[in-house]
């Protein structure tokens, strides 16, 4: 269990965020005024039952969606109301996402999937000019997550654990400051889940990577510095992991 480290700077925060979805004629509130602050290098788990709004909160923090009410701040600056292009750039440069179902692009090889954030970041010409360096960087990253032998494989040719490793490599390829993981072990067996958590913990420890992880598995959540509990769209409790 990692020690709770108090870091001085608030890295990312959601302030009084509310979010509701409309399903037909029904208005379904998902988040009902949530405040959360995460410091730089902190590893936070968000736990709660299904429908408690934990994934929605993660999406709001990662600018995949915007809050109906409230603000999302990065280093104290509001970022949820930025123009679409700036939000796209933040998603590409500041955030890295890991999903429960891996979400690799099926047409691309593992290497190409990992290179995708750099392809999006750079113009065609810039990417083409630096393709050798980028390729080496991606191979190193895949080597680091133990997929050095699977470079040219398509996602459909990988196991669940390998796909999640590839997804982690892709998320890290853009050198993000914040890694947002939505049930990263939810689709994996216990051993593989443990391996993935070890990888995330080591990344957090080595690179001071801020990690916000959504999970409903209490055991997995305990890997984090702090656990945030959501219930019915409200923050129920938060504190250091036991």
């Amino acid at each position: 269990m990692p020690e709770t480290i108090m870091l001085p700077l608030t890295h990312i925060a959601a302030i009084a965020v509310e979010k509701a979805y409309r399903k037909g004629e029904h208005h379904i509130p998902v988040l009902r005024g949530v405040d959360i602050e995460v410091r730089r290098g902190e590893f936070v788990s968000i736990v709660g039952q299904s429908g408690s709004g934990k994934s929605t909160l993660l999406h709001l923090l990662g600018l995949l969606d915007g809050p109906d009410v409230g603000e999302v701040k990065l280093y104290g600056h509001r970022i949820d109301d930025l123009p679409a292009r700036s939000r796209d750039e933040l998603r590409n440069r500041v955030f890295g996402f890991i999903f429960q179902f891996y979400h690799l692009l099926p047409e691309l090889s593992v290497l190409e999937n990992v290179l995708a954030p750099l392809m999006i970041r750079h113009s065609t010409w810039q990417y083409w000019k630096n393709r050798g360096a980028f390729g080496d960087q991606a191979k190193d990253m895949l080597q680091k997550v133990g997929l050095g032998h699977r470079l040219t494989h398509k996602p459909s040719e990988l196991s669940g654990g390998e796909m999640q490793r590839a997804a982690i490599a892709r998320a890290l390829m853009g050198n993000p400051e914040v890694l947002l993981a939505d049930e990263p072990t939810g689709n994996l067996d216990a051993d593989t889940g443990r391996e993935i958590m070890d990888l995330l913990t080591s990344l957090n420890g080595q690179n001071e990577l801020t990690i916000i992880m959504v999970t409903h598995d209490e055991a997995i959540a305990k890997c984090a510095h702090r656990i945030v509990r959501l219930a019915e769209g409200r923050l129920e409790a938060w504190g250091a992991a036991a």
Partner: protein, 526 residues
């Protein structure tokens, strides 16, 4: 970079897109083939009409014609001489052509054109259409010998020695030809050694009041003073050879034979005029309208027969006390002009119109004279293009439907890309470039297939004919030995660009839909 990579991968892996590629390809290929064939027909037709009509024509209002062509041509020369390459005076009049064939007396309505062959060949492509200038051909249409006349030899009214010999043989062996009645008649005349001057071979067909005198067989075999080039379709017919299944042409008249012509005189009221003429050559332009209608006659003889001369201007023969026809001022109905550069036609028309009052000559270019025909071809081509372009538009709707399907199928991928920081424009451009790629591949394939089809169109036609047992392209209908084609590179370019534009336009809506997808909903898409 990711746009091109994904676009290329979608092209390779989404086989349903092949349907759009094939429909674009077929549309493009069809447009290229149809346009090329239409352009081939049109060009061939224009060349043939242009060759026969000359660049510009001055036509007299009256069929009596206008007097003194030398003076008229002098005026033309003074007005626009620097633009004019050659001129040829002619007389155009309606008439009837008659001849005997296999016991039948065949009469055909014709346009009789009096020409001076040497000058006429300078204003148009007369020699290209005369059989004496074409090499002898075998059954398959392959040249097997030299043409009786060299291409640079100016045309004249002389009968070739071979045909002169044919006339002599007919005198000696009257039953040689297909025209039994005429042969018999010639034989009778030869026996009697008696023949109407200037009407050998056709006596009995026409009444004439000219005195008769005794002639030697050699004189009897001499061609008549009136000579004609007859349109090939006037004196031949086509039939299908049952043994070979091939279409063959049977000539009813050949050079050396005589025909009877009827027309009207100049003056008021017009009087019927009949005269006989020796066929010197067969005229075959490939334009059915001309080959089944035109008879070219020596100008002076037509003027003499029609009375298109002013006796008051002629000299009197001291012996016979009759006016010498050669010395009289004659009339013509038409002056054909060949320009140095056809682009100057409008300038020349303007100048000539200022010199000739509207009641003397109507001045038109060959295109204006054949305006309705050429306009009909152009309108036909335009309508066909619109209809064919609809085929590509249908392909466009196919792309639209398939793209919507692909966007639905790829919704989660779009969410992934957006979570990685791809902009809406970036996502949109994936599908736009995908549409453009489909258009490019389809148009490229279509251009290749279309051009190959055009290149081997006659071989394909032969194959289809063999396969179906029915002639696809019947040369007797179209009067072309093979399907004419002409590929305009600009047409090919426009068709290809149009197809690509339609493919891109069809992908705009699905691309916008993809760009507008909410990333969270896209990621949750099942």
């Amino acid at each position: 970079m990711y746009k091109f990579l994904l676009c290329a991968r979608y092209l390779r892996t989404r086989y349903i897109a092949l349907a759009s590629i094939i429909s674009v390809m077929l549309g493009v290929a069809t447009m290229i083939v149809v346009n090329s064939v239409m352009a081939g027909f049109s060009t061939e037709m224009r060349e043939r009409i242009h060759g026969i009509l000359a660049d510009m024509v001055l036509e007299a209002m009256s069929m009596d014609g206008n007097a003194d062509p030398e003076r008229q041509m002098r005026i033309i020369e003074e007005a626009a001489g620097e633009y004019i390459a050659a001129m040829s005076p002619t007389v155009e009049i309606y008439g009837m052509l008659s001849f005997n064939y296999a016991g039948q007396y065949i009469t055909r309505p014709v346009t009789l054109i009096g020409i001076e062959p040497a000058s006429k060949s300078k204003v148009g492509t007369l020699t290209d259409h005369l059989e004496n200038y074409k090499p002898e051909k075998d059954e398959n249409g392959k040249a097997v010998g030299r043409a009786p006349k060299a291409a640079d030899e100016p045309p004249d009214w002389e009968l070739l020695p071979a045909f002169l010999e044919y006339r002599r043989m007919r005198m000696r062996q009257p039953n040689l030809g297909v025209d039994d009645d005429l042969d018999q008649e010639l034989a009778d005349q030869a026996k009697a050694g008696e023949k109407a001057s200037g009407h050998n071979g056709m006596r009995g067909l026409l009444d004439d009041d000219e005195p008769q005198k005794k002639l030697t067989p050699e004189e009897m075999a001499a061609p008549l003073p009136a000579r004609v080039y007859v349109g090939a379709q006037l004196v031949s017919f086509q039939y299908e050879d049952r043994e070979t299944g091939r279409t063959r042409t049977m000539a009813m008249i050949q050079p050396g034979d005589d025909v009877a012509l009827s027309t009207v005189s100049a003056g008021r009221p017009p009087q019927p005029r009949h005269f006989n003429a020796t066929v010197v050559d067969i005229f075959k332009s490939g334009m059915s309208e001309y080959d089944s209608n035109l008879v070219f006659c020596n100008l002076a003889e037509l003027q003499r027969v029609r009375g298109m001369f002013d006796p008051a201007t002629g000299e009197i023969d001291p012996e016979t006390q009759e006016v010498k026809f050669e010395t009289c001022t004659k009339s013509i109905t038409t002056i054909q002009i060949k320009l140095k550069n056809y682009a100057d036609a409008d300038k020349v028309i303007e100048r000539l119109r200022s010199k000739f009052p509207p009641n003397t000559f109507s001045i038109r270019t060959w295109e204006q004279k054949q305006g309705p025909l050429l306009a009909a071809v152009e309108v036909e081509s335009a309508i066909l293009n619109v209809l064919l372009f609809l085929i590509i538009a249908v392909a466009g709707f196919g792309i639209l439907a398939i793209f919507f399907m692909i966007v639905v199928e790829k919704t989660r991928d779009i969410g992934i890309l957006k979570s990685l920081g791809a902009s809406s424009q970036g996502v949109m451009s994936i599908f736009l470039s995908y549409g453009l790629s489909l258009g490019m591949v389809g148009a490229g394939g279509g251009v290749a297939v279309g051009l190959l089809f055009v290149r081997y169109i006659n071989e394909i036609e032969a194959g289809l004919t063999w396969l179906t047992g029915r002639k696809v392209f019947d040369e007797t209908i179209y009067y072309f030995p093979s399907i004419p084609t002409k590929v305009h590179p600009m047409m090919v370019l426009w068709v290809a660009v149009g197809a690509m534009a339609i493919a891109v336009l069809a992908s705009i809506l699905p691309a916008r839909r993809a760009a507008g997808l909410n990333p969270v909903r896209a990621l949750r898409h099942e």
